[in-house]
Every structure is written in structure tokens, then in C-alpha cells.
């Protein structure tokens, strides 16, 4: 009964071992041969071998290196690991190995790429000698290949992205260059247009003057009126060209920033305006925050906004223009408020366009370039200009400069 049980158990172990869901080999510690004594079914399947063809054969005879892979280190690493197990009598876990497996001769006999994670562990007898070595492996080929291919994909993706980025950069660079040259062309175009338009205009103005000087006395009233209209329009066109010219020159101008006493700027502008136009507006200038900017350009902004406020309030009974400033964390804001004609907020977006006007020539004269110049100067300074108004209730223009 006892014997029978033992025998039964031994038999069961053989079957159990061979059926174990893992890749196992039992090796004889007969270095350098390491004769194969047993193999699990799963091992046979994974290595495309048959039990009858490997049992009793040396491990390295059955599994040689792939002769086509000159960098193969599978056999030498495995041998080293097995020898270390013999020597140290403790298990040795190997790093993942590339160890290619040969197909059966019937299927061509070529080698297939395989990657393994092997563990070699000794089985000791009572005398503490190595009786067997259990060689257990896991087939990690799919995992390794997947890793390799995703690494390759990432590499490819990187190369592709790099290429795309380079192209985009190149395109951007070309666009910038193109834009620069277009800008330059546009500037020199508008400059020469303004300048070339000047010559005939000078002639019109000049001949009209000569006519007036030499024949003014002969012409009747209507003749003189017509002559005046010619001169008036020549002058107006001259102003338009002047404004256009200064607008186009703004593009070229480099900013020269200095500290600006804004009170001085507004008072200076008012002084000049008082000399050139007659008006009865009361102008109140509060104490203003000092600013930083290009003196000439900010002065232009001040002159344009102040003269606008005076011009558009000139038809009310008691024209009043108030200048003040505010300071926030990020910007300095200057306000120019008047109680004049104002404007319809629906057209506020048109205020700052070139040649855009919200009033007729009969109401208020102007070329429609002044506020476009203001806007361009503010943009160059990284600031902005806005306007609020209501018809016949005055307007507030605000320009702001960033604090840096």
C-alpha cells in the first residue's frame, strides 16, 4: 500500500512536471555538456523541439547560437550562468537574452528571433552537491519586439516631427523675410508716391499763385473764387499727402524711449495749438503720471488727441477739455475728455482707420489720418488707444502705455 502510493506519486510528478504551465528544463550538472534530462511540454512547444530529440543531448548542441547573428551572446551567457550555479550553488537570474531558436529541419531549419528571461537554479542532494539544475525561461520575445518597434516608432516620430518643425521654421523664416520685404516695398512705395504726387501739386499751387499775383486784378469776383477753390484743394491734397507721408514714415521709425513729463507734453502741445488756431475751449490738465516712451511720437499722440478734443468741442457753448491720468499695476492710462460733438459708438471701430471720418468736411475739417497715426504709435509702444462717446455728449479718448 505504502509502496504503491509512493510509486503513484512519483509517476504523478513526472506527468505534473511535463504538464506544468511553464518553460522548464532539467539539466545534468556535467559541465561543459549540461545534458538535458527532462523538459516541460511548454518548453518543447516554445523551442519547437520534440522530447525525443533533446533528452540525453548536451544543451548547447541542441541550442547553438544563430550562425547569422555575429553578435549573439546567448550560449556564452547561459554557460556562464550555469557554471556560476555549479560553483555558488545558488540560483542565478539572467538578464533578458536574445537567443534565437532554430526551426525544425522539416520546416526549413532557419533561426527565429527569440528573447528569453532565464532563471537557473540548483537542486542539491543530501551531500550538498548539485544533483540537477532547473533551467526555467520565459519567452519575452513579443514584449521585446513590441518595445523595440515602439522605440523605433518614437524615433521615427521624432525624426518626422523634427523634420516638420524644421520645415515650419523655414517657412516661418521665409514668411518673415517676405513680410519684411513687402513692408519695405510698401514703405518705399508710399514714400515715393507721396513724394511724386508732390511735384505736380507744387506746380498746381505755384501756377495758381502766379495767376493770382499777375492776374488777380483782372479777374472778376467769380474768377477769383474759382482760383481760390483751386488753391484750397491743392492745399488740402498737400495736407493729405503730408499726413500719409508721416503715417508711412512711422513704420520705419525706431523707438527711442526716454522718461516723459506728461504735463510738460500736454502743456507744450496746448501752447503750440494756441498759437496756430483760435478757440475758446477751457483746457484743464490735472497732475499727470510720468511715462516712458519715444518723445517725438508720444508728443504727436498728445498733439493729435488734444487738437481733436479742441476741434470737436469748438461748436458748443462752453467747450471744456479735461486731461487726467490713472495708474494700474500694468499700465498708465491718459484720458482726454471733451464735451463736444462726440460720436456714435456704433462707428467706434472706424475711428482709428486711415482716411476714416465720422464727420463731414462742413462739420469739422480733417484728413482722417490723425487717429490712425495715434493708433500706430500706441501699437509700436505696446500700448493701446480706445474711445468712448455719445452723439452731442462729448468723447473720452484713452491711451495707455504698459509699465515694464
Amino acid at each position: 500500500m505504502e509502496n504503491k502510493t509512493k510509486k503513484q506519486i512519483a509517476l504523478n510528478f513526472q506527468i505534473l512536471f511535463e504538464a506544468a504551465p511553464g518553460l522548464f528544463l532539467i539539466l545534468k550538472p556535467d559541465a561543459p555538456h549540461f545534458t538535458i534530462l527532462g523538459a516541460s511540454n511548454a518548453y518543447l512547444k516554445a523551442t519547437m523541439t520534440e522530447r525525443g530529440n533533446i533528452i540525453g543531448h548536451g544543451l548547447f548542441k541542441v541550442f547553438p547560437d544563430n550562425p547569422d547573428d555575429h553578435t549573439a551572446t546567448g550560449t556564452s551567457n547561459l554557460r556562464k550562468s550555469l557554471e556560476s550555479v555549479l560553483k555558488n550553488k545558488i540560483a542565478n537570474k539572467m538578464a533578458i537574452q536574445k537567443y534565437d531558436i532554430q526551426r525544425p529541419k522539416s520546416e526549413g531549419g532557419e533561426f527565429e528571433e527569440r528573447h528569453w528571461s532565464p532563471l537557473n537554479s540548483p537542486v542539491l542532494n543530501e551531500k550538498n552537491e548539485v544533483e540537477y539544475i532547473i533551467h526555467r525561461v520565459e519567452d519575452v520575445t513579443e514584449f521585446v519586439l513590441l518595445k523595440q518597434s515602439s522605440a523605433r516608432e518614437i524615433e521615427l516620430f521624432k525624426i518626422e516631427t523634427d523634420e516638420k518643425l524644421k520645415n515650419l521654421n523655414k517657412q516661418l523664416f521665409e514668411n518673415v523675410k517676405q513680410l519684411e520685404s513687402v513692408n519695405k516695398e510698401l514703405e518705399s512705395f508710399s514714400y515715393s508716391v507721396s513724394h511724386d504726387l508732390r511735384a505736380p501739386l507744387r506746380a498746381i499751387d505755384g501756377y495758381a499763385r502766379i495767376l493770382e499775383e499777375d492776374y488777380g486784378k483782372i479777374l472778376d469776383e467769380e474768377g477769383n473764387r474759382l482760383l481760390e477753390a483751386v488753391q484750397y484743394n491743392a492745399k488740402k491734397m498737400g495736407n493729405l499727402i503730408d499726413d500719409l507721408l508721416s503715417f508711412s514714415r512711422l513704420g520705419k521709425k525706431e523707438l527711442a524711449k526716454t522718461n516723459l513729463n506728461m504735463n510738460e507734453l500736454f502743456e507744450g502741445a496746448l501752447y503750440e495749438l494756441n498759437k496756430s488756431i483760435t478757440h475758446n475751449a477751457r483746457v484743464k490738465i490735472e497732475k499727470l503720471h510720468p511715462a516712458k516712451g519715444d518723445y517725438g511720437l508720444i508728443n504727436q499722440v498728445v498733439v493729435n488727441l488734444l487738437s481733436n478734443a479742441i476741434k470737436y468741442s469748438s461748436k458748443v457753448k462752453e467747450p471744456l477739455v479735461e486731461i487726467s491720468s490713472e495708474k494700474t499695476d500694468s499700465e498708465l492710462i491718459y484720458l482726454i475728455k471733451d464735451n463736444g460733438a462726440g460720436f456714435d459708438m456704433r462707428y467706434a471701430n472706424k475711428l482709428f482707420g486711415v482716411f476714416q471720418r465720422l464727420h463731414t468736411m462742413d462739420e469739422f475739417e480733417g484728413t482722417g489720418v490723425g487717429l490712425a497715426i495715434v493708433k500706430r504709435i500706441m501699437t509700436k509702444h505696446g500700448g493701446k488707444v480706445t474711445a468712448e462717446g455719445e452723439r452731442d455728449k462729448g468723447a473720452i479718448f484713452k491711451f495707455s502705455l504698459p509699465i515694464k
Binding site: 513724394h195 511724386d196 508732390r198 511735384a199 505736380p200 501739386l201 507744387r202 506746380a203 499751387d205 505755384g206 501756377y207 499763385r209 502766379i210 498737400g238 499727402i241
Partner: protein, 146 residues
């Protein structure tokens, strides 16, 4: 032609600019001895007494030449080049009177030895003043060679 002493040689292809220039000179009584030629070719004929001007003498040089730059056939720069390269004419004061504010033009003219470079003012008033000022200066204030 040969007997008349020319004080100002005006080289200008634009008839309006020429007329306005002459008028400005006239206002200062400087126009009596102005001769107007319409391009660089004619200017060189006049100065070197060739073509229609064989009766002239090179020695009777004008006191000043007012030279436009943009002209058909022979332009102002070419005229300047010839004048300043020739021993007989290099001392004649040349004032470039032009619409060109282009820096390369200005550089080249001075390189060639121009005596003055004036950009025609765009406003008629300023134009009038500029022409009479430079007329007065070159004819009355400035001491000519010889």
C-alpha cells in the same frame, strides 16, 4: 549766345519746375542771365560748346549750374561725372536741385564732388524761398573761382 554771359545754367526736364524756378529767380532779379536746357545731353553740349552751342566758349562758364537728377537720355549724375572729371569744368559750382531724398543719390553726388545738394521743398512757398536763397548765395555771396 556766345556773347551773353550766362550766370545760371538750369538743367531741368520738367517744364513746370523750370518755369517756377526761373520765376523764383526773377523775383530776386537773378533771372536775367539764366539759360535753361532740357536734359543732360544738351547741358553737356552747352558747357563744352558742342552741338548747337559751337559758338560758345568753354571758358565762359556759368557761375553756377542747377542740376536735376532724373532726366531722360543723360541723367544728372552722368552730367556731374563728366563735369567733375574734366579739368576745364571741374571748378564750376554745381548744385543738385532734385526731388530725390534717396541716400545713395546723395552719397554718390558728394562722392563725385557736387558743391551742394538741395531737395526741392514740397510746399510752393518753401520752394520759392529755397530757390531764391540759393540763387542769392551762389551769385552774390559766394566767390566764384578765377
Amino acid at each position: 549766345m556766345d556773347n551773353i554771359e550766362v550766370e545760371v545754367l538750369l538743367v531741368e526736364d520738367n517744364p513746370s519746375d523750370a518755369e517756377l524756378t526761373i520765376r523764383a529767380l526773377k523775383k530776386n532779379n537773378l533771372a536775367n542771365k539764366v539759360h535753361h536746357v532740357k536734359d543732360g545731353d544738351e547741358a553737356l553740349d552747352f558747357i563744352f560748346a558742342k552741338g548747337n552751342y559751337t559758338n560758345r566758349k568753354i571758358e565762359n562758364a556759368p557761375k553756377v549750374i542747377l542740376l536735376d537728377l532724373k532726366m531722360p537720355k543723360v541723367n544728372g549724375i552722368e552730367v556731374l561725372k563728366v563735369l567733375k572729371a574734366d579739368e576745364r569744368t571741374k571748378k564750376i559750382p554745381v548744385v543738385v536741385l532734385t526731388s530725390s531724398k534717396e541716400d545713395p543719390d546723395i552719397q554718390e553726388c558728394y562722392q563725385l564732388g557736387v558743391n551742394s545738394y538741395v531737395v526741392k521743398p514740397v510746399h510752393f512757398d518753401s520752394f520759392l524761398k529755397a530757390v531764391s536763397d540759393l540763387g542769392l548765395y551762389w551769385l552774390l555771396v559766394n566767390q566764384a573761382p578765377k
